[in-house]
């Protein structure tokens, strides 16, 4: 029996080849997208999961009311160690963003991202450097390890595992350090680095006033995290009170423990946009599968006429209904299995493109473990969704009705099919309107005024600290001699997503937390930032290098100052005089609102000024670059031999990368969805018109024109389309609002994308239906009627 049914199934596939292919093809495209996205979601949500203590690792963060940070002072680790027996390991680490060269006989590298960590931190993150994790000796020893690429450049012929000496920070400096060997950071970990330095303890000389370290703890299984959080909070406050730090703001401060599992997508000290994006993607992929399932259901039911007779006959031959239900479900399962196989092939085919776009190392083989149980499950679910309903409809046909002839299976089920088609259209409309809105916002990001000019600004990575204006002056003098350099400045950060520090500042007795940016002369001129009132830093005022400050509009608003120029702002034990107010500019992109910020040339609490920025005349850019390259060691002797630079607009552009990715994915997903929906409509129209061939012929014999018949065939679809649009629009509005709200700066929603989505969906439907209908309309009615 099974064999016979299988044969029937295959013969049916062959007979209705086009429809079957649309069915299987549509489903497999959707499943392929789903597989890719499941792999991706799985990858994104399982950072560090390979760590054996994944569940027990937390980062200690601080909630400072205005914002949250994971930076903690170094003594915190010791007091946790001494007072919390429920904590198994306490690690601390600090990123060293100082970029400096390492030189061996064979070559040189620039190391950017070194993680300086204590031995316990390396244990918590389960690091396995070459030769195994070794305990450093005493207080001072640091064990250095470098990533594979660096090791290959520096020691191409190295076979043994003995430490090697390298020159550090330029040949002229003459510093050396031993490199223990290589370390391979797991790309699937929150902890990324080019190299690590492992010591027994860090920041011994720094107290509670130096929140520059990450503190990680590994708790013993079963620890009450809430209680531990409160305990660490008390310890932290006690430590700060003892050192008499920031007494005033203490009561607003709170320690939190953020589990390792949260750090990649939704860290407390950060935002959960990434998490939302990943989840949105997941939902998108499910929608695509749902659309494909609807297609499947609809097409199967629409073809029911062809199967009705079989059902009737089998019933009078003595078949139970369950038997027939099983037969149809099996048939659909076979199609789903075929779709799944095809989907796996498609997924494999598009994996490299996908990986490229998202910068992930996904593969079917690596994800096999999850897919192993997931794919059969999906297969069953899809078969169930797509198959059970049609199977019940088909197996439910009454033989007396079916076998009498002129039977229309469509009539009993048409409202459900229409409903499903409406759902499908709605989803398609959501995607079309979605594309239009996403496009407009991304366009806006590219064209909207950022408040500063990133064009023709060179950012020079430099390892020389220019914290003092008089030191930088010599550099500036040399560089300004090059034809085409318009201005030169140095700062602790460049606009492009780099985080600066923040501190409490007081104006007229009101304290507020401001971001501080440490700058030099010509900072605002180089970046083309506009002044609102007052003036910028000038060499004509000697005191500018001592106690002058410039604030932005947001900062002025934060203090409620109408006329800030001339007022005093106190912070870091200095009474600054506000000399100017600048217009806000979007240094952090469009997602974050502009922060209240203070700019000063002197800031004892600040960060090293390493980022040199030069404004260059566009026409002379290449000449300037060549000159800088040639004269670099003369201009900036302490930076070493190499001139390394970026264009500011490239750096700033990276802030939009995520949005670009999202746009690409959304675009592809939308195209797929719309494509599948159109496929469904195409097949549906094909079946509908073939079912109505006789009616069309009769109408033509009665004198209907081709156009009238076409209109008739289209009109039923157009009604559904209209309803679908009306249903989709509010949903689009809600979704678009939610997404746009993740931007501090965004376009306004207008009716245009909605109307346009309506028109596009209408055109697609009319074209698809008419393509099918014209064939039926042009058929010779005599021929059609003779065959009936």
């Amino acid at each position: 029996m099974f064999k016979l049914n299988l044969k029937i199934a295959l013969r049916n596939l062959k007979r209705n080849f086009v429809i079957s292919m649309i069915n299987i093809g549509g489903l497999s495209i959707a499943l392929a997208a789903f597989i890719l996205i499941v792999l991706y979601v799985n990858y994104e949500t399982s950072y560090d999961k390979h760590n054996p203590n994944y569940e027990n690792i937390y980062i200690v963060g601080r909630d400072l009311k205005d914002f949250k940070t994971n930076f903690t002072p170094p003594p915190l680790a010791e007091i946790i160690e001494q007072n919390c027996p429920e904590v198994a390991l306490v690690g601390k680490m600090t990123p060293s963003n100082l970029e400096f060269p390492l030189i061996s006989d064979a070559g040189r590298i620039y190391i950017k991202n070194t993680m300086v960590m204590n031995f316990n931190a390396a244990k918590i993150f389960d690091l396995h450097p070459q030769g195994g994790l070794k305990q450093p000796q005493g207080e001072i020893e640091r064990l250095y390890y470098l990533n594979e690429a660096s090791m290959r450049t520096l020691f191409p012929n190295k076979k043994d595992s003995m430490p090697e000496l390298v020159l550090m920070g330029g040949k002229t400096l003459g510093l050396t350090a031993p490199i223990q060997g290589k370390i391979v950071p797991n790309p699937h970990s929150n902890l990324q680095f080019d190299g690590v330095a492992i010591g027994n303890n860090l920041g011994v000389a720094e107290g509670f006033g130096f929140p520059n370290y990450y503190t990680y703890i590994q708790v013993k299984p079963g620890t009450d995290i809430k209680a531990l959080e409160a305990k660490i909070d008390r310890l932290m406050k006690a430590g700060m009170i003892k050192e008499k730090i920031d007494m005033g703001s203490l009561k607003n401060e709170r320690v939190f423990l953020d589990p390792l599992a949260n750090l990649h997508l939704k860290p407390q000290a950060g935002n959960d946009t990434n998490y939302k994006v990943v989840m949105a993607l997941f939902i998108l992929s499910m929608l695509i599968v749902v659309i494909a399932c609807i297609n499947f259901t609809n097409l199967t039911i629409a073809q029911a006429n062809k199967r009705a007779k079989e059902v009737g006959i089998k019933k009078v031959l003595g078949s139970y209904r369950q038997l027939l239900t099983m037969q149809f479900i099996t048939e659909i399962l076979i199609q789903c299995v075929l779709s799944m196989l095809l989907a796996l092939m498609l997924a494999e085919l598009f994996m490299p493109t996908f990986n490229n776009l998202f910068e992930v190392p996904l593969s079917l083989a690596a994800g096999a473990e999850e897919l192993y149980w997931m794919l059969p499950l999906i297969l069953l679910i899809v078969t169930f969704i797509a198959g059970v309903y049609p199977a019940l409809i088909l197996s439910g046909f009454k033989p007396a009705l079916v076998l009498k002839g002129n039977f229309e299976a469509g009539l009993q089920t048409s409202w459900i099919r229409k409903g499903l088609l409406v759902v499908q259209f709605s989803i398609a409309v959501i995607f079309i309107a979605g594309i239009l809105i996403v496009n407009r916002q991304v366009e806006y990001l590219h064209t909207e005024d950022t408040g500063f000019e990133a064009n023709q600004v060179l950012v020079i990575k430099n390892q020389m600290m220019y914290n003092k204006p008089e030191v930088f002056a010599t550099f500036r003098d040399k560089v300004m001699k090059i034809n085409g350099v318009k201005s030169a400045t140095v700062a602790n950060v460049v606009p492009g997503g780099e985080q600066t520090g923040s501190n409490g500042y007081t104006v007229e007795g009101r304290e507020a937390l401001l971001d501080f940016i440490d700058v030099d002369y010509d900072y605002f001129e180089t970046l083309g930032i506009k002044l609102k009132s007052g003036r910028t830093f000038s060499k004509e005022f000697k005191s500018d290098t001592l106690n002058a400050a410039i604030i932005n509009e947001t900062a002025a608003a934060k203090y409620g100052l109408l006329d800030p120029v001339g007022k005093t702002i106190r912070g870091c034990n200095i009474d600054y005089k506000i000399i100017g107010v600048i217009k806000d500019f979007k240094s952090q992109g469009f997602e974050a609102a502009v922060q209240p910020t203070i700019y000063a040339m002197k800031n004892p609490c600040g960060n090293p000024r390493l980022s040199i920025m030069l404004k260059v005349d566009a026409a002379q850019m290449s000449a300037v670059l060549a000159a800088l390259k040639a004269q670099w060691s003369g201009i900036n002797r302490l930076d070493g031999e190499d001139f390394r630079y970026d264009f500011l607009d490239d750096l700033y552009g990276r802030l939009f990368k995520k949005q670009e990715q999202l746009k690409a994915v959304f675009f592809t997903a939308s195209m797929l969805t719309v494509f599948i929906a159109v496929l469904g409509l195409f097949a549906f129209a094909k079946i509908m018109t073939s079912n109505r061939r006789k009616e069309i012929a009769v109408r033509k014999v009665l004198g209907a024109s081709d156009f009238q018949v076409l209109k008739l065939l289209n009109s039923s679809f157009l009604w559904m389309l209209l309803i679908a649009n009306v249903l989709a629009w509010p949903l689009v509005y809600l979704l678009a609002r939610t997404w746009l709200d993740t931007f501090a700066y965004r376009v306004e929603l207008s009716v245009v994308p909605f109307a346009l989505a309506g028109v596009i969906s209408l055109l697609l439907a009319v074209i698809t239906v008419s393509l099918q209908a014209t064939k039926a309309v042009q058929a010779n009615p005599a021929a059609v009627l003779k065959h009936e």
Binding site: K309, K315, G318, A400
Partner: protein, 227 residues
């Protein structure tokens, strides 16, 4: 074998009852060959469907082999289909996706006849109907007469005690029609299979032993065929 007492059937349309069968009372004994005749729309097919338990009468009592059909459970009815009733249709109603041999084999599968016996019974009947050469063809590769032969072979292969045939020759040329009628007569006389057929043709009706004349759902005449 079959007892119909006061069978009534109507379809309601906007509250108006359209009677299709009225006061139908009759008996059919094993071994009879009954032809139902009447103009189009008289209710012949409906009567046959009632007899085949494909439709329920609105009123009246129908006993099949001594059992009240209205009290039959679904599973019992399907058992009757498997073992006692064979259907033959005007439009043949072969399953298009199955070959001739597969179509004939199908009822045996439902009857759970073993594989070897199935093969031999199908081979037997193909042989008897002279369609061995056609066994691997699909229905649309056969002429109407051949298709109806296959339809009858399918009805017979399960060795039913009664065959219900709704205008079995309605779509056939007269020579093919007479062949089928000869076959029915032979089955009836040699194997004792009860046959009830609907027909428009006086000639076909004379092959049977009894004719029921139906007009507007009422049996107007119940005549025996003289041989």
């Amino acid at each position: 074998m079959i007892t119909l007492s006061n069978i009534e059937k109507y379809y309601s349309n906007k509250g108006i009852k359209n009677y299709v069968l009225r006061h139908v009372t009759t008996q059919i004994h094993p071994g009879e060959f009954v032809s139902i005749m009447g103009p189009s729309g008289a209710g012949k097919s409906t009567l046959l469907n009632v007899l085949g338990m494909l439709e329920q009468p609105t009123y009246g009592k129908y006993e099949f082999m001594g059992e009240d059909v209205s009290l039959l459970k679904e599973s019992k009815r399907i058992e009757l289909y498997r073992h006692h009733i064979g259907f033959v249709f005007q439009a043949y109603h072969l399953i298009d996706e199955m070959t001739v041999a597969e179509n004939i084999e199908a009822p045996l599968l439902y009857k759970k006849v073993g594989g070897a016996e199935r093969k031999s019974r199908v081979a037997d009947i193909l042989d008897r109907f002279n369609i061995v050469a056609k066994k691997d063809l699909f229905p649309n590769q056969l002429s109407g007469g051949q298709q109806q032969l296959v339809g009858i072979a399918r009805a017979l292969v399960a060795q039913p005690s009664i065959i219900l045939a709704d205008e079995p020759t309605g779509n056939l040329q007269s020579t093919q029609a007479l062949q089928i009628m000869d076959l029915f007569k032979k089955l009836n006389q040699e194997e004792g299979i009860t046959i009830i057929q609907v027909t428009h043709s006086e000639v076909n009706a004379t092959y049977g032993s009894r004719i029921l004349h139906l007009l507007d759902g009422v049996i107007k005449e119940d005549e025996a065929v003289l041989t």
